[in-house]
Symmetry: C2
């Protein structure tokens, strides 16, 4: 909208600290305030690196980023099977390897809920007779820890995957990328929430021995699942696909209903119907598959991994494949916790699920899901503002993921680490909150503001790499 | 928002016809235009009736309307069975009776698509060997026509119901009201779209002999379906529940998935999954059930029936039970038609589905479904504006149906015929468009602006009734 009359009457423009504006307006002047902060928190080293990445290397990075985003957008990840993890993930063919969420970590630094999940996975595999023995094997290295992200696997929250677990196999035919994620365990006492009791292990058996094989048969019979096709529909049904994917999950269940009935698979149908988060790990595997298509685009500052293990948070860039940039994981902010719990009880931010934000959904698409904003006390306008803020750190808007609440505009896609470092705006991840020590599992939900340091470190490394090459 | 500067500079305020404003602004003056129209189109008789209904009878009508809306809002319609229509609808126990949408009508005036559906229903029942014989029986009165609304039945579009068809049985335990609607036939060649060929009749056999009994078993096994509970969720998933109810239908399918699998009901599951409008008639039966709870509240100007048969449109008020107020059915406006068809091909507005708007959803809740507005070229703001406009003719906002896109506000509920008559704002019904003569069925979709005359006639009758009593 035009506001010529207002602009003509402005006598001062204030950048940054509001106290100056207040002083002026107290004297009767009309002041336009601009929310300005010094770039990169005023750090001269980072400013110098950013200056090169926008200046001397600017064209090259821009081209590389356009290429990286085009690869992400072109990927059409389809679930082509549900399989035993040990049969499809190379690293799990070795004996006694467990995958976990987040960057690499030694057992000593693993947070409490992830420890409980790893121990339970070892018991589930039959590697140890009891949990004490399992913990000893993890401590002495006879069970090996590997970050899932280094093996095409992404897991929610504690993100543990062991060879006998059932995983979605999601592939992009054109680029040849493949990614995996465990079948979501659902609510209650489960490994993803850091609960490792007998009930959680029993559910893993149902998933691996019953639901997994049934889903595998269904996919063979009904054809592969076009994950992002369902996601695009779900975005117009109140889902942003990270905190909330139940409409999208119901679209999948609709597609599977005939096959489930034909198979007489009552227990499987009831499990799918009773798990609001069932679609989550399918979205994650598809997002990982699409992100992998961008890995290795030289010079690109597009983020291809954002991942947390409850101790550290790590980032990777398309232009620096395999290199982790790490800082301490965030405390979850603005959390709504169950009665009887306080912020002091909460584990730090955890899970591989932020891969979702790397492809333009989840926190990027909050405008699609005002009910998620409402959960945290916001409204539709707040949800829209959140998406617009995320647009400030992204390369472009998605062609395939569109927001009916934003006039059909595409979601922001392609997080540019330069913009994150410069603006100090980090991706916001709405996420569950786990108990930090007592093993009760999820105690709430909140917003994890990712640390800016890994993005700044990644920018520094990319500037160095490009300086060498020029 | 405050606009003090603007208001201070206004030198003239223009009410009504814009030509005066244009004349002033051409002379350089700033003019604030107000979209004003004389009440009731300036009709002195209607103005006099309205004056009594807001004045002398105002308190009584207000109390009655509050009571009527409270009854609508308190109703908790649940699908308790799917049954053979002839077993549950008294009028269909008689031989050779057919129900149809809209107000009462003689065969001679029945529109082409409804004729085709009635003829096909007679063939389906085996009352006639061929369509010509069936048409003769309808013409000579050996098959009797009854408006569904007079027997607790509401049907979409042509709205035909015959004794052997399967109907949802939806009941409100507290008020004791019960309503019925046929199982939705889905897309393609079907009676509801005015297509009466052999394929359409064959589908009726599947619905009555296979899907109906299976759904009846499922309800017995899984329990009654809380229709408005699902609707309330669906409103946060992009459905307004008239043009679009697929998210809500998927919620139902999710609830039924286990039972369908247990029954091995593959064909039924595939039919439900393939019919985006499956939930429509469940919403309609529930809306009729809730509206019936308000029928007979003396003095109430709340609309309890809005219904069209492609020839006439009819209205009933809570305070004048059983009395029809009728005018010619509207031509559907702003229609998007399939290639090769023009407005001249279109049948007039048809169907009982506007019962949905009587309980605060459908057109009342367009803000929930910006994608429906987008279908007609609008956006989220247009959808919100539409709901706000409907709020001008309603008694209050719903406590149970809430709009996350409107800050959690309730949908407008309880259409007050006084407000419709006074403001000349009639409910907008987004609806399908049928071919008017050649039997091809649906040729598009559009918006039916309901005629104001039946609302004015109803207001006149209510004023007369209250004058007598006072």
């Amino acid at each position: 909208m035009n506001q010529p009359d207002v602009l003509r009457e402005v006598v001062a423009v204030n950048l940054g600290l509001p106290m100056f504006a207040t002083a002026l307006s107290d004297q009767g002047a009309r002041v336009a305030e601009v929310d300005w902060q010094p770039p990169a928190g005023g750090d001269p080293t980072v400013i110098a690196q950013l200056t090169r990445l926008w200046g001397a290397h600017g064209d090259r990075v821009a081209q590389a980023n356009a290429d990286a985003v085009a690869r992400i957008e072109a990927a059409a990840p389809r679930a082509i099977d549900v399989a035993r993890a040990g049969e499809v993930i190379e690293a799990l063919r070795e004996d006694r390897v467990l995958l976990h969420s987040g960057p690499p970590i030694a057992w000593e630094r693993v947070c409490d809920p992830q420890r409980r999940a790893l121990v339970a996975a070892a018991v589930f595999e039959g590697w140890a007779d009891d949990r004490e023995a399992a913990a000893r094997m993890l401590a002495d290295g006879s069970i090996v820890l590997e970050p899932g992200n280094e093996h095409g696997h992404v897991g929610p929250m504690t993100g543990v995957c062991s060879p006998s677990m059932a995983v979605w196999v999601v592939a992009d035919e054109a680029s040849g990328t493949v990614a995996y994620s465990t079948l979501n365990e659902g609510p209650g006492d489960t490994l993803w929430f850091g609960v490792g009791g007998d009930e959680a292990v029993e559910r893993l058996r149902f998933l691996s021995q019953q639901l997994g094989p049934t889903l595998s048969q269904l996919i063979r019979r009904e054809g592969p699942i076009d994950v992002f096709g369902l996601v695009a529909q779900g975005l117009s049904m109140g889902d942003e696909l990270h905190m909330r994917s139940q409409a999208t999950g119901n679209l999948l269940l609709r597609d599977l209903a005939g096959g489930l009935a034909a198979a007489g698979a009552e227990q499987e149908a009831r499990f799918l119907a009773g798990n609001h988060h069932f679609f989550l790990t399918l979205t994650m595997a598809a997002a990982k598959c699409a992100s992998l298509a961008a890995v290795g685009v030289e010079g690109s500052s597009v983020v291809t991994v954002m991942s947390r293990n409850g101790t550290d948070m790590g980032v990777q860039l398309a232009g620096l494949p395999g290199e982790w940039f790490v800082a301490p994981a965030a405390q979850v902010q603005d959390a709504l916790l169950r009665d009887g719990y306080t912020a002091a009880d909460a584990a730090r931010d955890i899970g591989d699920s932020a891969i979702i934000e790397c492809v333009g959904i989840g926190g990027m698409a909050l405008a699609a899901a005002p009910i998620v904003a409402a959960f945290f006390g916001g409204d539709a306008a707040a949800a829209l503002a959140s998406t617009e803020r995320m647009g400030e750190i992204c390369v472009t808007e998605s062609e395939r993921f569109r927001l009916v609440n934003k006039g059909g505009a595409g979601t922001p896609v392609g997080i540019d680490a330069r913009l994150v470092a410069e603006l100090s705006i980090t991706p916001q991840i709405t996420t569950g909150v786990l108990h930090g020590s007592n093993g009760v599992g999820q105690i709430g939900a909140g917003v994890a503001h990712q640390p800016v340091e890994p993005f700044r470190a990644a920018v520094a490394a990319l500037a160095g790499r490009l300086d060498e090459g020029s």
